[in-house]
Symmetry: C2
Subunit: 492 residues, 2 copies
Amino acid sequence: RQRIATFPIFCMQLIWLHNKKTLKSFAVWPLPQTFISSSEQYRLNPQTFYFGYGMQSAAQPGCTVLDSAFKRYFSLIFLDLTSGSVDKPFSVEISPLSVKEYHRYGRASLNAQTVWGALRGLESFSQLVYQDDFGSYFVNKTEIEDFPRFQFRAILLDTSRHYLPVQTILKTLDAMAYSKFNVFHWHIVDDPSFPYQSRTFPDLSAKGAFHPMTHIYTQSDVRRVISHGRLRGIRILPEFDSPGHTKSWGKGQSDLLTPCYNGGIPSGTFVSSVFPDSYIHLGGDEVDFTCWRSNPDVRAFMQAMGFGGDFTKLEAFYMENIMNITSALNKTSIVWQDVFDYHERIPKDTVLHIWKGVPAKIKEELSRITKAGMRVLLAAPWYINHISYGQDWRNYYTVQPQNFSGTEEQKKLVIGGEVCMWGEYVDATNLMPRLWPRASAAAERLWSDEQQTSNVDKAFPRLQEFRCKLLRRGIQAEPLYVGHCKHEYQGI
Amino acid sequence: RQRIATFPIFCMQLIWLHNKKTLKSFAVWPLPQTFISSSEQYRLNPQTFYFGYGMQSAAQPGCTVLDSAFKRYFSLIFLDLTSGSVDKPFSVEISPLSVKEYHRYGRASLNAQTVWGALRGLESFSQLVYQDDFGSYFVNKTEIEDFPRFQFRAILLDTSRHYLPVQTILKTLDAMAYSKFNVFHWHIVDDPSFPYQSRTFPDLSAKGAFHPMTHIYTQSDVRRVISHGRLRGIRILPEFDSPGHTKSWGKGQSDLLTPCYNGGIPSGTFVSSVFPDSYIHLGGDEVDFTCWRSNPDVRAFMQAMGFGGDFTKLEAFYMENIMNITSALNKTSIVWQDVFDYHERIPKDTVLHIWKGVPAKIKEELSRITKAGMRVLLAAPWYINHISYGQDWRNYYTVQPQNFSGTEEQKKLVIGGEVCMWGEYVDATNLMPRLWPRASAAAERLWSDEQQTSNVDKAFPRLQEFRCKLLRRGIQAEPLYVGHCKHEYQGI
């Protein structure tokens, strides 16, 4: 939980009238849990504005995460001053009428239990600042108390079906922080390509990537992504999906795919040391038994193990093995919901990732899996790669993740949600406008109070304004409907 | 008609073996009418390569269109040398084995009846050139004879629902030339905003644009668009849609909208002198009679004219008036198909723009309107702003514009087609990836022989390769499916 009470940094009693229409409203997206604002305006002076640590604060200068966040948010707030790319075309600065000024030292205070909470508070504060037509910066007197509804607010990118340049991933992490997402689920490898350059098995990318030099993620790329995410309070959750979705693995590792489970399971240690997060995603979805069935060695092994002809038992055996490896590394497994269906001895701390089904079916699944005491992560309603004409963000906004039949205890087992951008039709050319601001609709659902954000029509103008803020920060967010932003996207 | 026979500019008998797999195929999109190519390869030397005018050519140095096209296509062909933005990451130049060289002067000749035909030929030639893995440029011995199936191959952009920066329009014109589109239908104004800055009625944009300074097209912007299009063989067809779709007009021109048709019709002369094209699009679609019906002055006028209560007669009267103005200016009118339905005395040279209906209905309309001897332009199957998940380019590719019941004479009245990108959900953030390469699918339908291009599966790898060429030229074209290009989009 974090508590933010903002008071103006610099005060000025304004006795000349603003054109109210030109003043941006001071909404925050996603909506804070409590938000009290007044019409009392204060002008910020970029020359003297600064972020500092409170006397009582456990964090002090030298705390990398906050030191760099202060610098970053200063730039985001005073974009005119810090970004060369933002011009003010045709604008003429008009001197205001004479103003009676009260220079008085002011301050905003932000209290948070963790540095990560402080990051969210800084984001909220940055969204409160607006400019009038003369270019002056203002903030209204505001009190916010805020905390997320769900602890797990993720975005999945798929770098196997199309390679995404590291810059594109970093830019996505930037935008995620603006919507208060906190987990980047990196679906890093899959059938079409294996871009992850492993230290232990370098042939996997040398032979399995689209190109062994230009279409890979080196160890240093991965470190960069992890560090960029960490500074923004975003965990990097890697997924090495198996035993399905592994065609690209076979190219660089002979004897891995055909004889199925035994022999070539990556030990897990190499992944564990690269990705520090306490969770790891093990996949486990959409296993096609045809290959296994065709292999006499596999069938013989199944007889020896007493599985008979039940390939789900073989799959369970495989998944158990890698979940045990994961546990031994002190990591928690996340697996796609398929694993629940055939698995009897699934570790109790495993998180099931719900990705299948129409709304009615999803409710049933949530009910069934949480009844077994398992934690779940909801992705199915947010397969954002499925595009359609019109305002489909409304569908993402109106999802009710805890609306299924079950006890209060069961509801609490929903740890969060995930926006999935699968890569069949997406690469760096179209990722940004497809992701933003559609993903932001889900972000509010995952962060904010459901009662306070139940009206999608009321959300519309707020999301429109937030989208303009994203544009202003250089995120290529597409329009929600007819209209314009003061600062349009200037790229081509 | 144009006839292009390309022979290599510089010849070199290659006695060392290429890795065949790495050589790009040498397809041209849209597919030429006749295309004979051999495996005989010739290497181009960028240091000595040049475009020149033939001795017999009517065009000679000083022909602006070709002079600038020569320069442009040199850059497009030798992108490595001319673009600072294209890097060759990690590549190491390996010296080839010793090569026996035959330096011999070669040439490609391109014969065209008009400079515009020559432009299309240059585009085809530029697509024939490819690079091997060592960076050398090659062209195969090729003979092409080519001409477009339809004379009118248009793209519509809508700059009223969202403003598009001039740079975005220019970039679109660049990409249009790569797919051999030749008409830019500029739906410049509509209900939401009036960005066109008129010399005669400057208030229309001062009050009707989203912003009077940043969201307008000045006279000089318009000249730039026209000139950029002309150099690429693209006509600029402006549309000032009325009497519907004019809400934004009323803000800057009082007494224009409420009293309906009389009084405030723009004279037409101001538009005519700015846009030199011989066609002008007058709109005429989706007129809502509610307003007219509510106005007693309108009803009185209708009585006086003998229209009774038939508002289609009033609309016809209005459209007749502006079509007459258009004729007096020696321009040909294009109008949306709605006009045909209520109009008895429609000028014979008017072009009807088909935008409504499901496939079966479209066929009927084509049949009915061409039976009346009117020319038609087909847009309905190519409303490309309607997005959906998956490979919808296949639908655009398989359109058969002349597949309706009618005589051969009627079929000839189909003068072409138009890809429409309406702007409700589109602005500069997402225009490029939505337009390309989906519009290119329609481009081949409009240019190439239908028999030769009837197989959409055969078109798929060709379009994938063409999409990579677009990326290489800096067009943010989205992927058709899983895969990669040698040179990926490097922007964010």
